[in-house]
């Protein structure tokens, strides 16, 4: 398998930008013709260049993504906000509010809600990645369907079996960890997620869910360590990790 090196990237960039002399260009084109892998790599760089040259499109995309995020957060806070409901319920809530203002219990109530809130604000189930191919495709499709429908209790033993047969499919471990989280088994999620190591393509996602698992298990210090690690990693979960760290501090 062709190794991605800084030198290779610089060669491809020079080729695509027309920065090579005639002889060098001819030699590089011969290499491309002789190597399908190199041809595909050059194509990826070409598409990347085309995609990222369009500043206006990128700026617009970022704007839409922010708007979508804000809309989702607004929807969530509408769903989670207390239901005033009947006058009787309203009276009881007012009475409860008055009580907590006059007791030590308000401090404990606030602390518990803050910890739970951070997890609730940031947790979203790990999405099904798409069509799972290979042996046991049907079994995998059934599990994916049940997981997507939120049938976590049902899915856990199915995932445990599949992971035994397909230990290389890390996405199954992420689905299982999320199923544990959804069924209040944070410690099981932690044990599973800690096994996914650096170098695994889903390492960063595993670390993110590990941080959330520690939050769920009420281990603030461990959650903080993991989100700091994620921030230093500077990947796709960085901004969410920064948000969590801000709340923990």
């Amino acid at each position: 398998m062709m190794e991605r090196t800084a030198e290779l990237f610089e060669l491809i960039e020079a080729y695509l930008s027309g920065g090579m002399g005639e002889t060098e260009r001819a030699a590089f084109e011969l290499r491309i013709r002789e190597s399908k892998e190199l041809e595909m790599e050059v194509e990826k760089h070409r598409i990347l260049s085309e995609a990222l040259k369009d500043d206006a499109a990128l700026a617009f995309r970022k704007k839409v993504s922010t708007i979508a995020g804000d809309f989702k957060a607004k929807q969530k806070s509408t769903v989670n906000s207390p239901n005033i409901g009947t006058p009787k319920n309203h009276f009881l809530k007012v009475a409860a509010g008055v009580l907590v203002l006059f007791g030590l219990g308000v401090v404990l109530w606030w602390q518990i809600n803050t910890r739970a809130s951070t997890y609730d604000r940031y947790y979203e189930p790990y999405a099904i990645e798409g069509v799972m191919r290979g042996a046991d495709a049907d079994a995998l499709a059934v599990v994916a369907k049940n997981y997507a429908k939120g049938k976590y209790v049902e899915v856990i033993p199915q995932l445990v079996n599949l992971i035994e047969q397909h230990p290389e499919k890390t996405e199954l471990q992420l689905y299982l960890a999320n199923s544990y989280l959804q069924t209040d088994q944070a410690l099981s999620a932690i044990t599973l997620l800690k096994r996914i190591e650096v170098g695994n393509p889903r390492f960063e996602a595993a670390r993110w869910y590990l941080a959330l698992s520690y939050l769920k298990a009420d281990d603030k210090a461990a959650a903080k360590t993991v989100v700091e690690e994620l921030i230093a990693y500077d990947g796709i979960y960085r901004s969410q990790a920064e948000g969590v760290l801000g709340e923990l501090q």
Partner: protein, 196 residues
Amino acid sequence: MKNKQESNIVKGFLAGKEEVISLFYEHNFQKIKVFIEKNSGTETDAEDVFQEAIIVTYQKLRAGTLQLECSLGTYVFAVSRNIWMNTLRKRNRVRSWEKLPEISIALHNTILEDIHTLERLALYQKYFLKLGENCQRLLGFFFSGKRMSEIANIMGYSEGYSRKKKFECKKRLIEMVEQDPLYEELRYESFKEGER
């Protein structure tokens, strides 16, 4: 264009006005969410598809190649629907689907072409925006044509470190793209096209 309100929405889109896009999003997302959830999708699928549809529409408006014969909301719904049905087709979940009655055959076909063209670029742009801020800045400068010495100066790095960071950021971006299931499907489609 049917009326002034539609015209203002289109102008707001082109100008990237957040309040216009935000209102449009609020008024139109639910319909697409219902459609996608009824057709084997999740809320997350609906969010992804709707965002892509808005971006495809913006690109068309910017290029001046969109002749709207319906409301912008209807157009974006048609694009969303086609993106989703295209996704299901790739997953072998559906063979073909009929066009919406509100739009013409010609418009339906151009929507399909636009989706195909923009899918590859969209994948790279999506993951670029998931990179850390420094990576986005550095790669943004690089692809806008700035020399490495200039980039190093702006970022406050040495030139050698800038090159190293550029390589790492680009490598990570390509790896994230490769992990997306859509990447494999687009690659397979390219291979099939090449064979013709």
